[in-house]
């Protein structure tokens, strides 16, 4: 492999690993903040115990999200120096703003939250976790605006041998970035919802602290249902934006080879990339794909063959990742709906099979999120900035394959160990369940 392939592999590995922790942080920070607010308002100690228990799991996960995030900022310069030189004038800004506006807020107030239990008022303490939640969500906004620019470059001009920013407002209001933000953010909420429901299901199956876990489950179920609907709705608009701005990615997502009007949607497709056609298609819903792409049934969609081969993304990973992501999305929507129904009827414990299913569904939104990133990033190839700069032109010129092999090995070993430790700690604390002895804690909180 050359430095381009190795650097791509390393970026994929490190960003996908980072993305194991971030989505849970995005959603669980909000849920924890909500629980603590309920405690502050009602004085109900059950909510304090919830805050403590889910907060403990939140912190284990949060730590890895923070440390693996530094890698991302370093790598643009380390492995993608030509890219950074070429687009730094516009791409560097959102990253620097993310650090100033979000990272400080998040890292400072997480410290306040952990260590502030007996130092600040209850309200100020609850406010600190809200600030953490706000900051992580803000951080996601800036990084996704940056990524949105790579997908749909706006507000720049090619000048002095690089892309220079001419319109910050365009960067800030890039619809691609905002749709991506909404879609990604709500997918993080789904991760948190399924995490809380899954862990609660484990304890409900064991008849352990049923009041505590029934209520936790219910909060997560409502949050989960709202979030799965949100992901799908924004995802639909996101796909329209992709069809409009990234025709090659859209064609690959749907394995559409020929340019057609009034395109139907085939529920099952088996693409053949050698013969450049699909070996199986059907059953078909007429006009649906055109409708999904442009929100009108007779719209024309460009097929892959309309583009030179070297400008098409790898079809199979883009296609299969997208299909599977959508399938998982609908499955999770259905599960969340059932979860809300059983919660409302207070019949969760009467459905052990469903609880078991929910326990084993914890990985589903994680997988869907990773697949989503595969669609976004593999589907953008061969471009690093769509239509502006090829990925192969972005790699650092000064690095050698030996260096990148070594760093890739280092990341694999280090991240492998961290992942194992994280899973160990999370499952240990999750199984342990909440602490019943709150007397010490109550003395601390003023």
């Amino acid at each position: 492999m050359d430095t381009v392939a190795l650097s791509r592999l390393q970026f994929a590995l490190t960003s996908m690993f980072h993305w194991i922790f971030v989505p849970l942080t995005l959603g669980l920070s909000l849920l924890t903040a909500y629980m603590e607010t309920r405690y502050v308002r009602s004085g109900d100690e059950l909510y304090l115990r919830m805050t403590k228990f889910w907060g403990k799991l939140f912190l284990v996960n949060f730590a890895l999200g923070v440390v693996t995030g530094i890698t991302m900022e370093f790598q643009f310069g380390m492995n993608w120096a030509e890219y950074s030189k070429y687009v730094g004038d516009i791409f560097g800004a959102p990253l620097a703003i993310e650090a100033t506006m979000a990272f400080f807020l998040e890292s400072v107030f997480i410290g306040v939250w952990i260590f502030g239990w007996n130092k600040i008022s209850k309200k100020a303490h609850a406010l600190s976790i809200w600030l953490v939640a706000l900051a992580t969500n803000l951080s996601a906004l800036w990084i996704l605006l940056a990524n949105g620019w790579m997908q749909k470059p706006v507000g720049y001009v090619l000048r002095n041998g690089r892309a220079e920013m001419t319109d910050f407002w365009a960067l800030l209001t890039n619809p691609y970035g905002w749709l991506k933000f909404g879609h990604t953010l709500s997918s993080g909420y789904v991760v948190a919802a399924f995490f809380v429901m899954g862990v609660s299901a484990y304890h409900l199956l064991k008849k352990n602290q049923t009041e505590f876990f029934t209520r936790s489950f219910k909060i997560a179920a409502v949050f989960g249902l709202a979030s799965t609907i949100l992901v799908a709705t924004i995802g639909d608009f996101h796909a329209v934006e992709v069809a409009k701005t990234q025709p090659t990615k859209f064609a690959a997502m749907e394995a559409l080879w020929e340019t057609q009007k009034n395109v139907g949607y085939n529920l099952v497709i088996i693409p053949d990339t050698v013969k450049e056609c699909n070996t199986f298609e059907g059953p078909c819903v007429p006009g649906l794909l055109s409708y999904l792409a442009f929100h009108t049934a007779d719209a024309e969609i460009k097929g892959l063959k309309a583009f030179p081969k070297e400008e098409r993304p790898p079809v199979l990973p883009t296609f299969w990742s997208f299909r599977l992501m959508v399938l998982l999305g609908f499955a999770m929507m259905l599960l969340s709906l059932l979860a809300v129904i059983y919660s409302k009827r207070r019949t969760l414990e009467a459905h052990p099979l469903f609880l078991t299913l929910m326990l084993f569904s914890i990985p589903l939104p994680y997988i869907a999120g990773q697949l989503g990133w595969v669609v976004a990033e593999v589907g953008r190839q061969p471009w690093i900035v769509y239509g502006v700069l090829k990925t192969s032109a972005g790699v650092s010129q000064s690095i050698s394959t030996v260096q990148v092999y070594a760093s890739l090995l280092g990341f694999t070993v280090l991240y492998g160990a961290l992942g194992a430790i994280d899973i160990y700690l999370l499952s240990k604390f999750a199984k342990q369940g909440p602490d019943n002895d709150l007397s010490a804690l109550l003395k601390q909180t003023k």
């Binding site: 912190l59 284990v60 730590a63 923070v66 440390v67 693996t68 530094i70 890698t71 900022e73 370093f74 643009f76 310069g77 380390m78 492995n79 120096a81 890219y83 950074s84 030189k85 730094g88 004038d89 516009i90 791409f91 560097g92 800004a93 990253l95 620097a96 703003i97 993310e98 650090a99 100033t100 506006m101 990272f103 400080f104 807020l105 890292s107 400072v108 997480i110 410290g111 306040v112 952990i114 260590f115 502030g116 007996n118 220079e164 920013m165 910050f168 650092s396 010129q397 000064s398 690095i399 260096q403 070594a406 760093s407 280092g410 280090l414 961290l418 430790i421 602490d435 010490a440 804690l441």
Partner: protein, 342 residues
Amino acid sequence: MEFQIIWFILWGVLWAVYFMLDGFVLGTGMLHPYLARNDQDKKILINTVGPVWDGNEVWLLTAGGATFAAFPKTYALMFSYLYTALLLLLFSLIIRGVSIEFRGKINNDGWKKAWDMGIFIGSALPALLLGVAFGNIFSGLPMDAAGYHGSLLQLLNPYGLLTGALFVLLFLTHGSLYVCVKTEGDLCDKSSATAGKLWPALLLVAVAFLVATAFATRLYDNYLTTMPLLVVPLLAVAALIGIKVFLAKGKPLAAFASSCVTIVMVVFTGVIGLFPNLIPSSLDPAHNLTIYNSSSSAYTLRIMTVVALVFVPIVIAYKIWVYRVFRSRVTADTVMKNEQAY
């Protein structure tokens, strides 16, 4: 004032603040196996930096982000040229962060010992690497039109290592003074005694650094043309002496303030000497990376200036509030009472 100059100043300030704030975290991390007599002491030491370490590390991320946004060419070349060194820095910072966070999660001797090792290595290595990196930036990197001609081993030249030693000693002293300010009794006594023992070594290395800088770098050129600037290195020396004076008087807080000033002034001394370069070339001055040939467009710099003017004061305000909230000393009692403590 030109935007490039504003961002050069901000660049220097970000690095200086980062070293001042993470310096005592790195120092405490390096010293904790030596200062602590038992597990409870270790817990206290780690909890002195517990609420603030993460926020302090963000200054490094911001310094990196600001370099990217304001001087993208410097960011790109610096990070790719120093690939392996930065990779080691990254790994050690990751290990430090995880070690601080996870050490107290399970009450088991083997578990804690492993993370203690992580905290030590994750603190010592960044201090050394950052020093070596800045030493090499001060003296210039071997770069020209064909690219970079250096290697990891070449970074470990005498001047680079001397700067590395300076950073390690600065942070050790800084950390021991911080520990003394933040703890009570034996821990505080032992750490202030440690600072006293470290100080002569620090002075020696600092003097050696100031002398070697005259031979290995061109940092002094700016001072020779603009004499009033000499007040910065003089302040660094005065603050360094101040550490010893305040320690002898039994005023650890003032000694800690002095070490803060020392670190900031040492960084400023180097950065002022670099101007208008960000990274000089050791091969050919025509290939120096300057604030002019590596900066973003005026438009981007203007936007970023507004962002910095709005958000940096806000950050500083809530940081000061946080340091006030956690101003009390960390004792065995406070550490044991909070089960979320590290």
